[in-house]
């Protein structure tokens, strides 16, 4: 009962916050609402016993990525942004696309079959702590995808530096 109440709170508030993010006229306000949204996502991770993911969600998304967003947006001329047209002319197409994807998700979720339970039950994770369990899986079974992901990020960093250097 209590867990359902908790999940209901997070679900409703997260939808409301997402709407606030896309409807604010002032982009800085949008980013600040997104910060509150990220905290609720972290809360949802805690709810799933994934405390490591919750902490990383706050450190990386709220503490690093969103601050950089805010940095860029603060440099914009807010006074022009506020008076600018909110939505481009093609928004009905976007709404139609979004609704059709929502329908697709709705119909597929009813057909989902639960897979067999793996070795990581809630009890196993509680005994081993989430951080340790995640680390073990990430650095053994999924080491190759992990390395590929880090290589892609490295290329992005090198690319950004090359682009910035060419100007000077």
């Amino acid at each position: 009962m209590l867990s359902k109440l908790f999940f209901g709170y997070f679900a409703v508030i997260m939808v409301a916050l997402s709407l606030l993010v896309i409807t604010r006229r002032n982009p800085v306000h949008s980013v600040l609402w997104m910060l509150v949204l990220f905290f609720h996502i972290a809360g949802l991770y805690l709810f799933l016993n994934a405390e490591f993911l919750a902490a990383v969600q706050v450190i990386l998304y709220a503490g690093a990525i969103l601050v950089l967003f805010l940095f860029v947006i603060m440099m914009l001329n807010i006074k022009v942004e506020i008076t600018a047209e909110r939505f481009i002319g093609e928004w009905p197409i976007g709404v139609a696309l979004g609704l059709s994807i929502l329908m697709l998700i709705y119909f597929t979720t009813s057909k989902l079959i639960q897979g067999p339970a793996g070795q990581f039950s809630i009890e196993a994770i509680k005994a081993e702590t989430h951080t340790k369990a995640l680390g073990k899986v990430l650095y053994t079974e999924y080491l190759f995808p992990f390395e590929i992901a880090s290589l892609i990020l490295l290329i992005a960093i090198v690319g950004a530096i090359v682009l910035a250097k060419k100007r000077g």
Partner: protein, 347 residues
């Protein structure tokens, strides 16, 4: 304990639910009350210590040796007019000073002050503290932007770049401690240090401790990295437009940040509330002293270090600050992680 374990524990014991909540509230009140008192008197001792280092007396007028000075300052700030600049983004302007205070006070929840006394013993304690300290940048960016003033905007950009850069160094310097202790829980980190004869990670992790200390000075905007404020050169930075109580919140958050950074240094590198086994084995009587004495003593030493360095070192230039953070501290911390991991793997 899992974060939700705390929650389950509260719900599970239906009969003593109210009692458990009451105990937690009393603990929070005690910790917050004592910390606030320390914040007030940290300002007094800063003025006294720096005064004596510069052959002055420091505050002397309010009470004997100026002992009531922080109370007088507090009352004065409380009754000052709260000015909100014209054209400021009012909601953001008003929320901005609350964020650093909120982040600092919530970090206190996971710090173990002595054996068995911690508000929430969660198993990601160190990550939680890093997450909370990463929120500090929002107070800076929001106040700088919302003031609608070029001075605070530029100050905000400067100091948020500083805080974000040094956050990386702080996080990386603590990884060495995490590897050695094999845990993210602050309680376990203190206990793991007792396994060694020296009883503190300060000795095997001296590089990490150095990086942590320097980065903590920058993270809390203290001298020699106090460029955001630079009171002897500029009209302060991101909080130029703040007055009265809202300014006091920024000011208090800086001192809370100092206390929390000192506490983390003590817990992760100085063995927290314990004394080195080599000393306790030689003089068993030391075990009779309650742990809080050692903890508080070590924290006071670190806070004194903040004052000492402020009175000693000149301020860094901005490019020197960035070069130090990215080209010295982060590579040092990374090298420390590699070496620590190899040593741990070999043994």
């Amino acid at each position: 304990m899992n974060i939700f374990g705390l929650f389950d524990g509260l719900i599970g014991m239906q009969g003593s639910l109210a009692l458990n909540i009451l105990i937690i509230i009393v603990k929070i009140a005690v910790v917050v009350g004592i910390t606030m008192l320390h914040v007030a008197y940290a300002t007094y001792f800063e003025r006294k210590v720096i005064g004596h280092m510069q052959v002055r007396l420091g505050p002397m007028r309010v009470g004997p040796h100026g002992i009531l000075q922080p109370i007088a300052d507090g009352i004065k700030l409380f009754f000052k007019e709260d000015i909100v600049p014209d054209g400021a983004d009012k909601p953001v302007f008003k929320i901005a000073p609350i964020i650093p205070v909120f982040a600092a006070l919530s970090s206190l929840a996971v710090i173990p002050f002595f054996e068995g006394f911690v508000i929430a013993d969660i198993n990601i304690g160190l990550l939680y503290i890093l997450a909370m300290s990463s929120l500090g940048a929002y107070g800076i960016v929001m106040s700088g932007w919302s003031s609608n003033s070029k001075y605070s905007f530029l100050g905000g950009l400067r100091s948020s770049a500083q805080v974000i850069s040094y956050e990386i160094a702080i996080g990386l310097s603590l990884v060495g401690v995490m590897i050695m202790a094999g845990s993210l829980s602050l309680n376990d980190i203190v206990k793991a240090q007792q396994q060694h004869w020296h009883g503190m990670y300060l000795i095997p992790q001296f590089i990490a401790y150095f990086v942590f200390l320097v980065a903590a000075f920058a993270e809390t905007n203290r001298a020699p990295f106090d460029l955001p404020e630079a009171e002897s050169e500029l009209v302060a930075g991101y909080f130029v437009e703040y007055s009265g109580m809202r300014f006091a919140l920024f000011y208090a958050a800086e001192y809370m940040g100092m206390i929390i950074m000192s506490s983390i240094a003590v817990v992760c590198f100085w063995g927290g509330w314990t004394m080195p086994p080599v000393i306790t084995n030689a003089v068993p009587a030391i075990k009779m002293v309650p742990g809080i004495v050692w903890f508080v003593g070590k924290v006071y030493f670190h806070i004194f270090l903040y004052y000492w360095i402020r009175a000693t070192l000149p301020r860094y230039r901005y490019d020197q600050l960035m070069a130090l953070g990215w080209k010295v501290l982060i590579p040092l911390a990374l090298a420390n992680i590699v070496v620590t991991a190899i040593v741990k793997f070999m043994s």
